[in-house]
Symmetry: C2
Subunit: 312 residues, 2 copies
Amino acid sequence: MLIEQQIDAMLGGDSRALSKLISQVEDRDPGYQDVMDRIYSHTGKSYRVGITGPPGAGKSTLVDRLVPLFRQEGKRVGVLACDPTSPFSGGALLGDRVRMQSLLTDDGVFIRSLATRGSLGGLSQVTHEVALLLEAAHYDVIIFETIGVGQAEIDIIQTADSIAVVVIPQSGDAIQAIKAGLMEIADIFVLNKSDQGQADRAVHALHFALPSADGKNRWVPPIVKTVASQNEGMDKFKTALDAHHKFLGDSGIQRKQRERLQLFIQRIIEENLRKELWSAERAQQLSQQIELILQGKLGPFQIAKEIQKGLR
Amino acid sequence: MLIEQQIDAMLGGDSRALSKLISQVEDRDPGYQDVMDRIYSHTGKSYRVGITGPPGAGKSTLVDRLVPLFRQEGKRVGVLACDPTSPFSGGALLGDRVRMQSLLTDDGVFIRSLATRGSLGGLSQVTHEVALLLEAAHYDVIIFETIGVGQAEIDIIQTADSIAVVVIPQSGDAIQAIKAGLMEIADIFVLNKSDQGQADRAVHALHFALPSADGKNRWVPPIVKTVASQNEGMDKFKTALDAHHKFLGDSGIQRKQRERLQLFIQRIIEENLRKELWSAERAQQLSQQIELILQGKLGPFQIAKEIQKGLR
């Protein structure tokens, strides 16, 4: 099928065409940039939800239970599970496990695991591109599921409109989340498995660390208790997401879209320049200049400065 | 203490001075680049061992059991545990757990966990810098312990002289390792927990996927069975490392050092150029050019190309 036909099919709701285009983006097939340019004007109408938290917090179950609540409203939902360790652990940490059967057979739900494939584009860039494809294919809600806070994942999660940080009572996660500065990126805290011990202590710790409402028009992240495996508290989580979505408003969502677009283009340019910079010739030059360091005449940062002077 | 004094103390074997310098590098304190330039000529005498594998493969235990085997030879050992999820999981996946007491009280052993701290330098760059400090502080062997194969970790592990990939029999790790292309980076395969079921099957799968010895002077990764928790097979692992070290020889080690140095300088320059590139003024320009995309006139890759033209 010609690429134009594939794009048309995807825009028309053909999920097989969508899957093929996603693979092209993941594989950095020739022409994927052209695909992105062609579909971009069809993007920008989706609500992006980022869900992050440590292994074992129950993120996948939470997502499985959240999706139907959007489906009830007639919204089409895309789920992107991004696990940087996936090619290695076989997705053991996230995403590749069997999803709820009802989701897998629902035409209005699209689920995909994304993993770092060696050096073919950073995971965050690929994830954003795949999300744009989902937007163009009329998925109203896109849920990003990530583990941990590696740089790639911070990049992914920070491009979401609403960010939920999932912690559990037992493991001291709440305290760690506070230490790791996650208070700043979380729009909603989900205390999952809250039927287990020490839930109140965890809520206390989170409350204590949260900024207090001070009368200004500022969002104070709510703490939602859930037991996703029992489908408990999911309505409260959904309500919290809706509230944050409303708080952002159209202007807030548009601002986030612009930020995403700006970052996207910056990364494209950086990647292009990086490829140009290390031409065979310049790499060869650098290899010679290294002698000065090996002879103990200059340090690495000094030589870097020298080389940069030459680039101007 | 003046920075010169701190460097002198570190070179003289003062581990508190070393710790302080490491913190400066991690925190990107003003002056850390100067520290790196000053100490570089004291580096290059260590043997770097990379140990990677999925969560639960027993990497930390393996390292704990490996260290004493180097210590018996009078070698000083540094261990750097790099967990990209650490700030979030509190190091639950790796490294922050309690180490063997005998290691903690041994002056010849230095253990440090490194985690991504937001955007303060990439984890791989920071890890390399800390490793250089350990080299300057006369640690003969530096062991890198990482989880998964995110890009940052591939960067870390590929700078090691010898790379051991640790898998366990049960979880299909061996097959996943093959799929993930780890055959290419592994110098040694460690099948840990090999007293558990299906060990022979895993060894078979690995053997099948490995290149066969073809008479050329090529390294064929051995598969070593261990039960680290029982201290079984550790001598074989050590022997395999020694054999690979010997196979590399001085010329092989020097080649790897040069490659590391070249990559190190490339990353320094890239980071500097990136900061220069997105000056407030240019970011402002970009923000205006984005309008063309939002109006549907150009795609993101097209505008990136336009902007790059302007940079020349």
